[in-house]
Symmetry: C2
């Protein structure tokens, strides 16, 4: 039996494994977590709108009925492309080796500090479930402390600085502001929550660089109307601690911002596995791939999604590191594996752009489509938000989480309440 | 303004605070967690049937519209009943003091080892949310390890021993067996999950001692039919580690049971705060209270729920440490505070027994009522389970969690899937 190893159960790896459903292959699907994470909604977990379990789905559950998949919980730190093996590290066990005939590298991306001092020590990234829970906890704990120490407000110790004005930064800032003004202002009646500041810092001259200028402007105006301070054209020089558990974000224009919590949403780079493979890497450490998404010199190795600098054959710009290129890339890699088994040559990858979307808080979003669709190419405001909502619900189909997500959203929407703002103490209780 | 301090936001504290809604008092409600925990469903979190957030609700959210309540996140370790102050310890701050005119101690109970060696080190209690998450994680991680190390099955390293055959033990064992046979057997197709053993050990001669013998027998037969081993009339002498991360539960009859995971559901004792008060304590460290639930010599101090040895005036046996006595006790204490403000004397507490219920896994439960109700005094099987389900949904009314709980239950019921079996890695990701 032809053995396919897929590294990563994100959008790319999941799509590849599912597309191999009826193929005469055995699939080993390896991920460091036992769940698939719906990353586009991670900011909702960080801002207490959704539970962690709403955006995570057990990988074994997804493949329960797909008999040709074996799920492995472990981290792939290295692969030997000549020997055609990957090394899997598992907690509490010696590393083991898996052999493959075809390999799909879908290991995703990690946050990168770009070498900015203090980010690793003092900022919270927003890349995985633990990040989101840590961010939520950091914010809520600060409010609880401020309830007894009102001086924290004056020290600007509740302020949040979001570094990065891409979709993650914009969505996080918008949702955070909403959490403050609509929820925490009612929870903490004695605190002047309206004086708490949320700032987005973006080095480029506009927000949402992947969108058109009109959408960028719309996002800026909407965020500002809701009270978010938007600082454009200025980068982050350093994040430092002030010795009282608070932080200072020093900017490239010589100014600085006080902050209790610093969110780092300024960029990602390819998973460190890319480097470990010993293949050619492009910008951001992404694996350079050929037209068919295979690694040059290794037609049996495919790289898809955030870890790869994939592009539509014949085009120059690598595709953005979002879900759609990963899903389509994963399916493409699976199709090539099947074609090769049948003795056919591989096909070039062609990305079908379905558009981009970002929310800017409650009932506002921007959406852009590559061509006119029902007569429009750009949506914003409430209609954009409905489109965003519909799309995400459609994507979550097949995952049971959808029903819970809907319940949570409907509840939040109708009541301005957030259900998920509990703070587990962080360890099991003592038995006395 | 008359100041009421309530220690604990469990069933008793919550009921007292709510009952003071329209009273001319200010309430300080203090809890070590920022959420109220619906403990009767905690075993569902431990067995991956519900998310943690489904059984926890932000205390500040509950009292958002009740203006006379101030919520405090902190631990009350001591009180000075003569000075009428409590000391609140908060993370990252110096302890502070709150003065009261009336005090309601509703601090609940903690697990107790009864001095059995090894329990504190090797067993997992099931008393708070972190316990439940830790238990779920311990079981799921073991299955993941067994997926690559099949020898663990032969070493009985997946076996679960539940110490204690009360409602928590019976419910946990039943739900754990169901998780194994209906869910994990499908997730881990290569493992002979049917050979994994779940055992309940109970020192008394029957399960569910607070129920009648017929219900006890019914619970035993149902558990055994589902594959749970029930060991009655035998206690736990010691829990030891075998050096390979596995455990051994040594019993009073000289036999022992191998186990990967040991659950300690054998008993609780009153919160350590009871002892710190310097008042008379009864069995299990519970505060001795008078007929009106006040502490003798301190008519302004009430103790309700698990922390108190409350009883219906004129009766001998203290009430069981479950939700109903706490709720009714909290309301009674609130009513006495209001009466005293009006210059009236206090009333004796009279407990209205609404019956007891315990589930034994999928669509089976036992329920008993103090008197015939619609012609019956005892329910079991599917009808008992429906009664249990209805009652718990009614209790969750007012909490938004109800909708999610229903969605989760319906999903689990229809699909034999469990949505909540994700294993977060335990810390935020590195920023690379």
């Amino acid at each position: 039996m032809h053995r396919v190893v897929i590294v990563g159960a994100g959008f790319g790896g999941l799509a590849a494994a599912r597309a191999l459903r009826d193929a005469p292959v055995h699939v080993d699907l390896i991920d460091a977590n036992n769940y698939h994470l719906f990353q586009p909604l991670l900011y909702q977990v960080a801002t207490a709108g959704l539970d962690g379990d709403d955006v995570a789905y057990a990988v074994r559950g997804i493949f329960r009925r797909q008999r040709n998949v074996t799920v492995h919980l472990g981290r792939v730190a290295a692969a030997d492309l000549d020997a055609r093996t990957v090394t899997v590290e598992r907690a509490g066990a010696a590393p083991s080796t898996l052999a493959y005939d075809s390999l799909v590298v879908a290991a995703g991306a990690v946050s990168t500090t770009y070498g900015v001092p203090g980010v690793a020590e003092h900022a919270i990234a927003l890349k995985d479930l633990d990040d989101a829970v840590a961010l939520r906890r950091a914010v809520l704990e600060r409010f609880e402390r401020a309830a007894v120490d009102h001086g924290m407000l004056a020290r600007r110790s509740l302020d949040v600085v979001v570094c990065g004005g891409g979709p993650t930064g914009v969505e996080t800032a918008g949702a955070m502001m909403e959490l403050f003004t609509k929820v925490l202002a009612k929870d903490f009646r004695d605190l002047d929550v309206a004086s708490v500041q949320v700032t987005v810092v973006e080095a480029a001259p506009r927000l949402l660089g992947m969108f058109g200028p009109a959408s960028s402007e719309r996002a800026r105006r909407t965020l500002e109307r809701r009270g978010v301070v938007v600082r454009l054209g200025v980068g982050v020089d350093r994040v430092s601690a002030d010795g009282h558990g608070d932080h200072r974000v020093e900017l490239t224009d010589g100014t600085s911002l006080p902050a209790g919590v610093v969110v780092w949403a300024a960029g990602v780079r390819a998973s460190p596995l890319a480097q470990a493979l010993g293949v050619e890497l492009g910008r951001g450490g992404r694996i350079v791939v050929g037209d068919d998404l295979s690694v040059p010199g290794h037609p049996e190795v495919f790289a898809v999604g955030d870890v790869a600098a994939s592009r539509t054959a014949g085009e120059d710009a690598p595709l953005p590191q979002v879900a759609q290129p990963a899903i389509q890339g994963g399916r493409h890699a699976a199709r090539q594996i099947v074609r090769r088994l049948k003795g056919r040559g591989s096909e070039p990858f062609s990305y079908h752009d379905k558009g981009s979307m970002a929310t800017i808080g409650r009932h506002d979003a921007v959406a852009e489509f590559p061509r006119r669709w029902l007569g429009v190419q750009r949506l914003s405001g409430f209609v954009g938000w409905l489109a965003w909502l519909g799309l995400h619900i459609v994507y979550l189909i097949g995952f049971r989480n959808r029903a819970n997500v809907l319940v949570n959203w409907a509840w939040n929407y109708l009541t301005f309440d957030r259900a998920s703002r509990i703070l587990p103490s962080g360890g099991p209780s003592d038995v006395d």
